[in-house]
């Protein structure tokens, strides 16, 4: 900006050589700029530490409220346009957990896990046993697909909804037969 208005030279941190609007350190006392600079550095370090602690505290609070470690469940059947499984919130066994189905990363359907499951390795966690879900769906083509079922956890005043993967992502299609899954129950605490 060569056409800038000439400003009077001032005692500046950057030196007196160039005129212009400069950030001052207090003139006169020769020890004061060094002390001020030291304090500024300390202030910057303190501010950074405070902000790091703030982020850590927020992250810890968020993780503890947004993810439910009490979910238990499993997928028990996948294939031929059907996925079955069950999910329980062991901290509130009377409640029905909402589950959502995604195929190849796209939302397909949502349902409550309130049906009597055909198989439930989590028996004993609940009195009525009605924590099963079943999704019937159509997929195009004969290629292989990936299905993911998520348990929905709602938290906070704003109703933050967190999806926690039930079991593992499952592949189906490509001419394979329906698969009955015999793996152990999934635990919410294992969620990623």
């Amino acid at each position: 900006m060569s056409d800038a208005t000439p400003l009077e030279p001032r005692h500046t941190e950057a030196g007196d050589a160039e005129p212009g609007l400069r950030v001052l350190f207090p003139p006169g006392d020769s020890s004061r700029p060094a002390r001020a600079r030291q304090n500024l550095v300390r202030l910057l370090v303190g501010k950074s530490i405070f902000e790091a602690l703030l982020v850590a505290a927020l992250a810890a609070a968020f993780l503890s409220s947004a993810f439910n470690p009490s979910f238990r469940g499993a997928l028990t059947l996948v294939g031929h346009g059907r996925i079955e499984g069950w999910v329980i919130d062991t901290s509130r066994p009377e409640a029905r957990v909402e589950v959502q189905l995604y195929i190849d990363g796209r939302f397909v359907a949502s349902a409550d896990a309130d049906k009597q499951p055909s198989e439930m390795s989590g028996a004993g966690m609940t009195t009525d046993g009605r924590h099963g879900f079943r999704f019937d769906f159509d997929v195009e083509g004969s290629s292989e697909h990936e299905a993911r079922v998520y348990a929905v956890h709602t938290s906070g005043d704003e109703g933050t909804r967190t999806l926690q993967l039930v079991g593992k992502p499952l592949r189906f299609g490509g001419g394979s037969s329906p698969e009955v899954i015999t793996e152990g129950a999934w635990r919410g605490a294992d969620s990623r």
Partner: protein, 229 residues
Amino acid sequence: MNRKELIDRDTHGLSAGSLALWEILSVFFSILLAEWIVFSIGGGSNLLLAVPVGVAFAFMLISHRLRGESARDIGLRLDNFGQAARLLVLPTVVQTLFLLCVGWLTSSINFARWDGGQSILGMPLLGVFWGLLQQYALQGFINRRAQVVWGQGWTSVTVVALIFAALHLPNPWLTLATFSGGLVWAYVYQRAPNLFALGLSHGLMTWVLISTVPPQALYHLRVGFKFFG
């Protein structure tokens, strides 16, 4: 070498430019922290949002004190109000005409769109206060520190505008608008440092922007994580 000598050596080893750059980045990241992290994992709590923003403002005020900067130094003065206002007239008129054309072409001119609360004075008061606050941080602090690093001129002006624009990401049109406004305001501040004139200009341009550009295009002025909903 005792502890005091070590501290002296370390802080003297940090150049004036490095220290000023650290200050700029510190304030910049505090605002990013509020917009992106605190908003997303803090559940949108205004109280939590005020923490990093308040820390940034407290830091800026203490930094002024440590550096011996007066309110007059940073631009809270009236003697050069006229000079700053004169410098702002042309770009403000040009930008207003441009935005009016946009509003006319998109049939979205509505000067009552920004209600600013219940009172009829709400909008102008909010606009000027908010504008002054942003201009204080942007020019009274960041521009001054940028001049320590890059000197007076287009480099520091562009850096200030880029920082201002980056704080409005990922809102595309608002980022563009703030970059353009940031260039003008940073340039004018380096010629005539007056935050009152810049605050008025900021408030006025915000009002014109909101009144002329379709709200959907501005995504209701949402920035940071809030932009996504």
